[in-house]
Amino acid sequence: MLSEINYLLFNSVLAVSFVASAVYLVFFFSQKEKLRTVARMILLVSGILQTLYILSRYLIAGYTPITSQHEAVTFFAWSVTWAYLSFHWRYSVRNFGTFVSVLAFIMLLIAASASREFEPLAPALQSLWLPVHAGVSVMAYGFLALAFCGGIMYLLQERELKSKKFGFFFTRLPSLDALDQLNSHCLTAGFTLLTLGIITGSIWARQAWGTYWHWDPKETWSLITWFLYAIQLHQRVTVGWRGKKAALMSIVAFCSVLFTLWGVTFLLGGVHSYAQ
């Protein structure tokens, strides 16, 4: 019974998220304000459904559902959606929702293509640290994904302004300043969470394996990612790195995030690999 609900819930998450990005895209083309309100509401519903889906998986499995490919990516989509919704509550960035909702939908599609089976939890993962470490890390990814979207928007808008040929994006995208601030906010939040994720991870590793750090591929790549963001943040604070460089850096660093998430599992293996 619960697993049927669970199954239906994921399908409705997928459907609602599709509708949200579709309406956002229509709004992006037509710029009718009413559509935006509708799209925002649908995205909110999608966010709530995602939360319910994760809860239902938790109830069935009895542990935080973040260990399989499907679960991790769903969690990622959830954190992107809620990072945006929480962010939106304070700042409004023109047409940002379109990019974010599409990204969240793509993630859910990837999650849908992975196996949704429940796998027994490996003994090493049976710990309270699992939700803390993995949850914080994935939430960091959520904010970093927003910085990535902002970076893409920045590059698009900057290209229009520099080339002086104003096409499709010029009126639809926000000002460079707004996008740069978005980058800075998301980066600060994302980097703080990422740091916390690495710290909690190493404490857990100490408890589980006796060493804080043992150069597992995922750990190495997390560190590389962490450094990429640290450099960017450092440069911003000290010499005022901003604009195009910062946007490019957010995109590159997010690719590193994605590689940490998937590339490592499929190419390099290690203790962080998802249950297959």
């Binding site: 710029q31 304000e33 808008q157 302004l161 520099k162 002086k164 104003f166 010029f170 009126t171 926000p174 000002s175 460079l176 300043d177 707004a178 010499v239 005022g240 790195w241 901003r242 604009g243 195009k244 460089k245």
Partner: protein, 424 residues
């Protein structure tokens, strides 16, 4: 009963040269002309709009033709004789007048189509007229409708969003770079008229500090004073470039005065805060290569003109959409007006019906002695019901859409059929 005529007379930038518009009697304030208008016979309601591009009088009058001549005379005063002004003046009646007013309000008749000032000017003009009690039910409704049409056009089309003058284009670009211009610092290099105009726009949109750098300090001081700014010499240029955000250059220098290599090292001290250069000088003052620097944006006069041209094409498309909205709303208003014309007739008809039923009741009821109060009530009710049911169809006929076009004729026939006395 002839319905009211709505008349709109005026001149605008399209067919009247500035020299003529300047001579019109109404160039100074609203108070006097409105008082003068009160003296014209036959005007029920009147309203006056005067901007630098147009002067228009909108009235609701009993007798259209006579009033038209008087208004034209009033508009031109002694400046021009009737044969002279004939070719400038336009005069719209009823539907045309409504349509024209809506076009003006929606900024479709403006010199810069889509500019937003006109609505404010319209509202101010209306405020004057209504304060002086010059407007009545028809013009009140008409003008409020014009405001809402303008709002609808603005929200349903993109007509207002495109920049169509060089200054507007510069502001729009600046907003895409800085988000808002609030508290942004402006540096004017050269103190010419163009620079002044640009600065005016920038300050009008929120820019705060204005610094003027000029070869002759005296002229710089003059201009700086206008914006409560500071004047500096040209030798302090680089220092200033570290502080400001927007630079408008318009010197008469024969060559380039600011090179890429000059600005590049400054960016570090600016902590890479964006710089927006606007070069409106011919020949150009600023090195085109500046645009290649990160966080530096350079637009010269040709780039800005291109923006303007591009926006014009975009805007023309939107204007078609906007005119459709205006057409639709004008038609709706016409419907309301026609309804207004038949209202007195319907009232008269109902009055007559009620009077007849009351009269008959007064005659009959005293003869029916055994009625209980309840039965009495029923009889009264029945009499009323017969009258209103009998009148229902004629009223529906009068109100029906297909007759609105010929409402005057229809109302006349109607009044003769029911023998309603001709009254105002």
């Amino acid at each position: 009963m002839p319905s009211e005529t709505i008349l709109l007379l005026g001149v605008n930038h399209k067919n009247t040269p500035l020299e003529v518009r300047e001579k019109l009697a109404l160039s100074s304030g609203y108070e006097e002309p409105l008082q003068a208008l009160a003296g014209i016979d036959g005007l029920r309601e009147y309203y006056l709009l005067s901007t630098c591009n147009r002067v228009e009088i909108l009235v609701s009058a009993r007798d259209g033709e006579a009033v038209e001549k008087e208004l034209a005379g009033f508009l031109f005063g002694d400046a021009l004789s009737p044969d002279q002004y004939e070719k400038y003046l336009y005069c719209h009646r009823n539907e045309e007048a409504i349509h024209h007013l809506f076009m003006v309000a929606a900024s479709l008749d403006s010199m810069i189509v889509g500019e937003s000032q006109i609505l404010g000017q319209l509202k101010e003009a209306y405020r004057w007229s209504s304060d002086k009690k010059c407007t009545g039910p028809i013009l009140n409704k008409l003008l409020h409708k014009a405001f809402s049409v303008a709002k609808r056009v603005r929200s349903e089309t993109l007509i207002g969003s495109s920049a169509v003058s060089i200054s507007y284009a510069a502001i729009e670009l600046a907003k895409k770079i800085f988000g808002s211009l609030d508290n942004k610092k402006v540096l004017l290099i050269g103190a010419g008229e163009m620079a002044e105009l640009a600065a005016e726009h920038l300050v009008g949109n929120g820019a705060k500090d204005v610094v003027v750098a000029n070869r002759t300090l005296e002229r710089a001081l003059d201009l700086a004073k206008r914006f409560n700014g500071r004047a500096v010499g040209l030798d302090e240029l680089f220092e200033q470039l570290e502080q400001v955000d927007i630079i408008v250059s318009s010197t008469g220098a024969p060559g380039i005065i600011l090179h890429k290599e000059d600005v590049k090292p400054l960016m570090r001290n600016r902590r890479n805060k964006p710089l927006f250069f606007i070069d409106i000088a011919v020949p150009r003052d600023l090195d085109p290569a500046l645009n290649d620097l990160d966080n530096v944006y350079l637009y010269d006069i040709d780039d800005l003109s291109n923006v303007v041209e591009m926006n014009k094409a975009e805007r023309d498309k939107e204007a078609v959409k906007a005119s459709r909205i205006v057409d639709e709303e004008a038609l709706k208003f016409k419907g309301w007006l026609a309804g207004l014309a038949i209202t007195p007739t319907i009232t008269a008809l109902r009055d007559k019906g009620n009077k007849i039923s009351r009269m008959e009741l007064e005659r009959t009821l005293p003869r029916l002695k055994n009625l209980t109060p309840k039965e009495r009530k029923s009889v009264e009710k029945m009499a009323g019901a017969i009258v209103s049911r009998l009148l229902h169809d004629p009223v529906i006929f009068l109100k029906s859409e297909n007759c609105k076009d010929q409402s005057e004729l229809k109302v006349d026939i109607f009044r003769s059929v029911f023998d309603l006395e001709k009254k105002e």
